[in-house]
Amino acid sequence: MDSTYILLQQYWWFIISLLGALLVFLLFVQGGQSLLFTVGKTELQQKMMLNSTGRKWEFTFTTLVTFGGAFFASFPLFYSTSFGGAYWVWMALLFCFVIQAVSYEYQSKKGNLLGKKTYQIFLIINGVLAPILLGTAVGTFFNGAEFSVNKENLMEIGMPVISSWDNPWHGLEAVLVIWNVCLGLAVFFLARIQALLYFINNINDEEVDKRSRKQLIPETALFLVFFLAFLIHTLVQDGFAVNPETKEVFMQPYKYFMNLIEMPAVLVVLLVGVVSVLFGIIKTILPGNWKKGIWFSGVGTVLTVLALFLCVGWNNTAYYPSVTNLQSSLTIENSCSSLFTLKTMSYVSILVPFVLWYIYHAWKALDIRKIDKKEMEEEGQHTY
């Protein structure tokens, strides 16, 4: 195979991994929603919280859409197999995001039909279910799903569908695999930790600050339980390896552990990421008034998730394995777009740093003035 093509496949898996990592970081918006009534005890505090993380909801949404679009463009076989197969998981996730999209804008508006409380409940549903579902779905990258792919079905005029799900649950069965759920819960508690750190950084209110710091401890404990359980299990389990010569998929003991050993750069990224997350949390919990935890935790989250995605896709690994039909498993090689498309898309991806640059500046311009009671009470200002 053309070495440029191989390079572009790896490059696009890196882009997908980066988008996935940014998405997990941006789930702090969901984390904030799920904490609405835990940290916010008065209506004003809740309003500050909604206006703190809430003003970033469009970034999470956009990253999700771009993650989907980039997956479609670079690995269309995943798009058709997973979305068309694990129908109910993805649909549940989409419903969660639909109710979120309107809730920020509608909850405080008069004439909103369902009442403020309903929209806030929508936000909590999204805040709880979206990270759990997303984490559980990504868990199947490590633990497999039940599907078959046969491209020759396209020649069957009556039933030309190439990807089919091998059980009637269409993705719901993923929640029966404890390790998928572990990842889902780890993502959920991580999102809540990020939100607490963001509140501490972004809201000028003593009580919210105090309560956020206190809440960090149980959230961190629960995050560590689920994350370490998932990580340790992943490193010791048999993984879905690909024979680089025959392209045959087979089970290899300690595959993901070996991937980290064989790709030391990825291992370093993972370790730096985990340490950075823990540093951001612990220094915030310790006495003092340190508010920069979100920076360390945020960067650490991106690095950790990036490393996990790279670990499951690079180094001759099947990133979306089928447990019912091993040879149907998806690898970055058998599921990617053509050389021409990957090359064209790569030119577009050169603009990504520019996009990140203007996002950074716009975000900074908005966050330069912290959220406070005064802003919430100002007349004529657009607030949630």
């Binding site: 003003r55 970033k56 469009e58 956009t62 999700l64 859409v65 771009t66 989907g68 679009g69 479609f72 463009a73 670079s74 269309p76 798009y79 058709s80 979305f83 068309g84 197969g85 129908y87 993805w90 989409l94 639909v98 109710i99 999209a101 309107v102 920020y104 804008e105 509608y106 508006k109 008069k110 004439g111 039909l113 020759e152 396209l154 020649m155 005029i157 009556g158 039933m159 030309p160 569908v161 990807s163 089919s164 269409h170 777009s337 053509s338 021409f340 498309t341 064209t344 898309m345 577009v348 990504v352 996009v355 996002i359 716009a362 311009a365 908005l366 330069i368 003035r369 200002q381 657009h382």
Partner: protein, 520 residues
Amino acid sequence: MVENIDTSLIDWSRAQFALTAMYHWLFVPLTLGLGVIQAIMESIYYKTGDPFWKDTAKFWMKIFGINFAIGIATGLIMEFQFGTNWSNYSWFVGDIFGAPLAIEGILAFFMEATFIAIMFFGWNKVSKRFHLTATWLTIIGATLSALWILIANAWMQFPAGMQFNPDTVRNEMNDFWAVALSPVAINKFFHTVVSSWIVGSAFVVGISAWFLLKKRESRFALGSIKIAATFGLIATLLTAWTGDGSAYQVAQKQPMKLAAMEGLYEGGNGVGLVAVGILNPAKQAYNDGVNPFLFNIQLPKMLSLFAERDLNGYVPGIINLIDGGYTKNDGTVAISAEEKIKRGQIAIKALADYKRAKKDKDEVAAQQYRTTLEANFEYFGYGYVRDKADLIPPLGLTFYSFRVMVLLGGFFILLFALAVFMERKKKMEKAVWLQWVLLCSIPLAYIASQAGWIVAEVGRQPWAIQDILPVSASVSKLSVGSVQATFFLFLILFTVLLVAEIGIMIKAIKKGPEFEKQSN
């Protein structure tokens, strides 16, 4: 046992996509139109420093925000439905179709998401210039996102810049610019965006007329009408121009859609355009000899002029397209639908034989089958079509939607011209009848916009990708019950949210703009 796709699965999947698309399109045109209008208003504020225009822009931005949120929600579902409900499609053309979607995300959505936050929350946090830039970049981002998704849609109507690869069993892009700059894509983009400006203008003019009827905030109402009516008039004229281009492209690339739009069964030279008409419900089959119209008034030779740029140009009808035998513009003789189906089946069989020969490592045979496949690939999608009559799109819906769209388009040219005239002559405030007409015209703009999409999408059935893949071969393998369940869940959810949106808008409009003391 030979398995077959359940036709009700196809219909429910279509219904779900249509439902999502139609709901989505209730919100997008207002975003695109209102976005430009509010940006013009803020630009006037920036130039004159008059706070009246700032407050006016802020009022329309409030409405924009209410509408924007639900537009995003429905748009998300649309993107993922390509995978969830049209998985075969996603594989077969994902190599081409996915690229515009990804570019849309990277280049347009982030621009929109970033600057809309500044637009809403940045009034007291950033400079006047930065804020104005953010407002314009929000609407430019929204328009760019329309560009990329419309390029993707246009590609489905006119697949270009690609080649079928039998080894990967999918179509692969080989010319990005042929996809991005195809005449269908360019025309579709301009026609869709400028027609969306009509919706935004009709909305602003209509709501402003309500304020005049209520004798409230007259400076605000007249100022808004002045901008929106002028903008609307320009938009309607551009829509008519791009609509003509669109019809020409349909005639050249999708003649069956044109025939359905016109209810044209027997084609010919110098064909007339049906101005108004009622289809004959007694007509059951394309070849039953029954007159397709109960009544119609035609503009002589006009269809030939629009379709071929020649008063005596030849326009094929449904019968001609099914039976073939007429001479096409390139000088070749059109083959019949039966022949196309046969050649499509040959292409599919050649692909199967090619794969088998490859597996058996018989390169000579593989090359022969590949040659056969390539010779017949133009008709690949026809191989999945069971009956030639299935190639005719739903006629009534296409025919009437087209007329509704065109007639309402003409109506809005007159309406905006009148509004501009009355406003300039300072007679708007007293023309109560016109204020009522403007208010009642808001839903008509939405109907016209929806009708346009019905023509575009229903008129191209049964194709997901013109001539390459019918919807029956595009669908995901799901139980009908699953798709029915999500259809009704979406229906309930979207309807509730739409009612909520309208309720919030009405409250916000009734409250009216909030002016600083010196501005009104």
